[in-house]
């Protein structure tokens, strides 16, 4: 029989692992948590491991697991790079409906290597006081299925960061021990990844450690799912979103509900197919698994480190980082004239990549204060300077931070 700790929390034995998946009041849990809290509160310190005390550490080349082929051993030129096995992943999509001016998840669709599955809310419970219970049941169904079948999988969600993550994090928090959930968030409060790692249960022997990671495929491939399908030549949406899907009356219209179910599944299917294709491409071309990265940048970095980097790049100490960070501005954007006619509009081919092929700062040779004359011509590095820009200059070139904005001022 299902127990209700309060109206919101339902305690259910998981039939597959025999563990409670809602264990809010367990003494054991509280003790675990206390222990972890203690650790967190004490703080953890990263100790520099470099022989060179100028730096914190290094960004090092990544060794790829390459295997010499028989051909190569026999003196043949042909090198076959053994690609690693693809990491298992599934795709997931949540559809929501507006109830009392709040978005409520009503369906969760998933696509795995060999299955598609749609979880849908019990509409009879959606109105009134049983709404939370209906949502809870939907998530319970989903998590049973995941716990049972998808240990060690990456679960990709397109737009986890700004949408689905909110629902997933809430659902996880209501179900699992606090220390079983961890989560990275960016400076815009977007979810980067959410990890569920079930702690081994002391009482239950022989239960495999369970771990899944929710990741945002949009962070890695930052285009809409429709566009991603087009680019990869993967069948996309067969039907488009209808306003009626967003309203409770959906459940009173059988035909519409059927359409909705197909629609909801389609997103998960398309996403899976796209990612499946991409995973293969990246493994073949770069020997990097898309399941092992968090974003386009981390994917780029992994490719760079495994295929192109052959030195150790220093990681600067915080003090030095702060000094140089004062010089880190983005692109120059400015307006000089309001109305104009007969204009030409140009842009530079790959401006940043063009900038990247120039000499880059590498070893920190020296730090120094400048008291007397200084010869700028042979210098490579970063300088703290007091700038004076004449007031009559029409197009100032040097940026400055002013009230949180980058401006190109005159003056000092």
């Amino acid at each position: 029989m299902d127990l209700y700790a309060n109206k919101k929390i339902k305690i259910t034995k998981d039939t597959t692992t025999g563990r409670n998946i809602l264990t809010m009041t367990d003494k054991e849990v509280i003790n675990d948590l206390k222990k972890r809290n203690q650790k967190m509160l004490e703080g953890k310190r990263f100790y520099s491991t470099t022989k060179d005390d100028r730096y914190l550490s290094y960004i090092t080349p990544l060794k790829t697991t390459t295997k010499k082929s028989i051909n190569q051993c026999l003196g043949n030129d042909k090198v076959i790079i053994k690609t690693s096995d693809p990491l298992p992943f599934i795709s997931m999509d949540i559809e929501t409906m507006e109830i009392n001016s709040e978005e409520v998840p009503i369906s969760i669709s998933i696509k795995t290597f060999n299955k598609t599955k749609l979880f849908i809310i019990d509409p009879s419970k959606l109105i009134g006081s049983t709404k939370d219970m209906a949502v809870s049941d939907l998530w319970n169904e989903f998590f049973y299925f995941i716990l049972l079948n998808y240990n060690k999988h990456t679960i990709f969600v397109h737009n986890l960061g700004a949408f689905d993550g909110f629902f997933i994090y809430k659902a996880l928090s209501l179900r699992f021990k606090p220390e079983e959930i961890s989560c990275l968030i960016d400076h815009d409060n977007k979810f980067i990844q959410i990890t569920l790692k079930l702690l081994p249960d002391a009482q239950k022997q022989g239960i495999e450690k369970f771990k899944v990671i929710f990741k945002d495929s949009y962070r890695i491939f930052p285009v809409s799912l429709d566009d991603l399908c087009k680019i990869l030549n993967v069948p996309g949406k067969t039907s488009s979103y209808k306003e009626e899907y967003h309203n409770l009356s959906l459940f009173n219209n059988e035909q519409l509900l059927e359409e909705f179910k197909i629609y909801s599944l389609q997103d998960a299917i398309s996403l899976f197919d796209c990612l499946f294709k991409l995973q293969d491409m990246y493994l073949q071309d770069y020997n990097v698994d898309i399941c092992s990265v968090l974003s386009t940048s981390t994917l780029s970095m992994k490719i760079f480190r495994s295929k192109y980097l052959n030195v150790d790049i220093p990681i600067l100490k915080r003090l030095d980082d702060s000094f140089i960070r004062n010089s880190y501005f983005g692109g120059a954007t400015d307006h000089y004239q309001m109305k104009a006619s007969n204009l030409h509009y140009y842009d530079v081919n790959s401006l940043y990549p063009f900038a990247m092929i120039k000499p880059m700062p590498y070893e920190l040779i020296r730090k120094f204060t400048i008291s007397s004359d200084f010869n700028l011509s042979d210098f490579f590095g970063f300088l703290k300077v007091e700038v004076n820009c004449p007031k009559d200059i029409k197009i100032p070139m040097l940026p400055s931070e002013y009230n949180g904005k980058t401006i190109f001022p005159t003056g000092t």
Partner: protein, 307 residues
């Protein structure tokens, strides 16, 4: 004496050795981008633009953890909490700053009588590299802008009254591309950073209006509206179905909303020319805004729980 009348007083320096890090990476992906279509082109473009930024990553990070309500007090004094998110009547999620600069932690502890401990984590970054990349990029744009023919410029693009010499135009890295394939923009208004609109006649003799205005959809303004904005009018635009995300109660609502747009007034406009902002001893220099932000966060929390 430096070009364009700038003068410098040198204060402090960090000297570096030089290295070529990215030429092979960039050339490989640029070649692919130029010579492919579909997924390969998409991937190449993405990796060309997304690598440098990771070197400029900030060291301070955000993390969330779930804790029991009764333990909140311990956290308030020991961690820099950004947001408190109630989960249910027993559990709350804390959004916290971690990996904060040690000097800031020391300063906060002494100024506010806190016992903050720092949680260290190695961020694989090198801001010198990121800063060099964006600096080179700005430097590359200077010669195009300095002669005064440019009326607006955003990062890698220019709107200019003068046709560029053909020697600057080409398909290779760093060369300019004519965005309109030789067509000339008839009229344009530049009303602020990322606030502009223009019209031109295309090869089929159609009048095309383009607009970029932060906050609203690209190309959604008529040219008449752009003119109105240039005259100082404020326009109201409906933004359909905007998401309202609340981290505080982990909820999302969707609603239509209105946004008012107008031209920027940050620069003085005299005879159709914008006058650069003039600073005398920029107060923002040496002013550690992040430290002050952290301080405010802590004080608000202490007040909220009436310590």
């Amino acid at each position: 004496m430096l070009p364009y009348g700038y003068t410098f007083k040198f204060i402090e320096g960090y000297e570096f050795s030089k290295i070529d890090l990215f030429t092979d990476y960039v050339n490989d992906f640029y070649f692919k981008k130029k010579n492919s279509i579909g997924p390969e082109r998409f991937i190449s473009k993405m990796h060309l633009n997304q690598l440098y930024g990771i070197f400029g990553r900030r060291h301070d990070l955000l993390e969330t953890i779930n804790i029991y309500k009764e333990d909140l007090n311990d956290y308030i004094f020991s961690r820099v909490i950004k947001t408190i998110i109630p989960i249910n009547d027993k559990i709350i999620a804390l959004l916290m700053h971690k990996n904060v600069n040690d000097d800031f932690i020391k300063k906060l502890n002494s100024d506010l009588d806190m016992k903050l401990s720092n949680y260290y984590y190695l961020v694989k970054a090198n801001v010198a590299i990121a800063s060099a990349v964006t600096s080179y990029a700005r430097i590359h744009m200077i010669p195009f802008k300095i002669n005064g023919d440019v009326v607006y410029s955003d990062t890698d693009s220019i709107f200019t009254t003068k046709k560029l010499d053909s020697k600057f135009i080409g398909k290779d890295l760093g060369f300019m591309k004519d965005e309109l394939n030789g067509l000339v923009i008839k009229d344009a208004y530049f009303l602020g950073i990322k606030k502009y609109g223009y019209q031109y006649i295309d090869t089929n003799n159609n009048l095309i209006v383009r607009s970029v205005f932060s906050g609203i959809e690209r190309d959604s303004l008529t040219f008449d509206e752009i003119i109105q904005l240039s005259q100082g009018k404020t326009l109201t635009k409906e933004i359909p179905n905007r998401f309202y995300k609340s981290l505080k109660n982990l909820s999302i609502s969707i609603d239509s909303t209105h946004i008012t747009i107008s031209r920027s007034l940050d620069k003085l406009l005299i005879n159709n020319k914008y006058i650069p902002i003039h600073l005398e001893g920029n107060p923002n220099i040496n002013n550690n805004s992040f430290l002050n932000y952290l301080k405010r966060k802590i004080l608000i929390l202490l007040k909220m729980f009436s310590f």
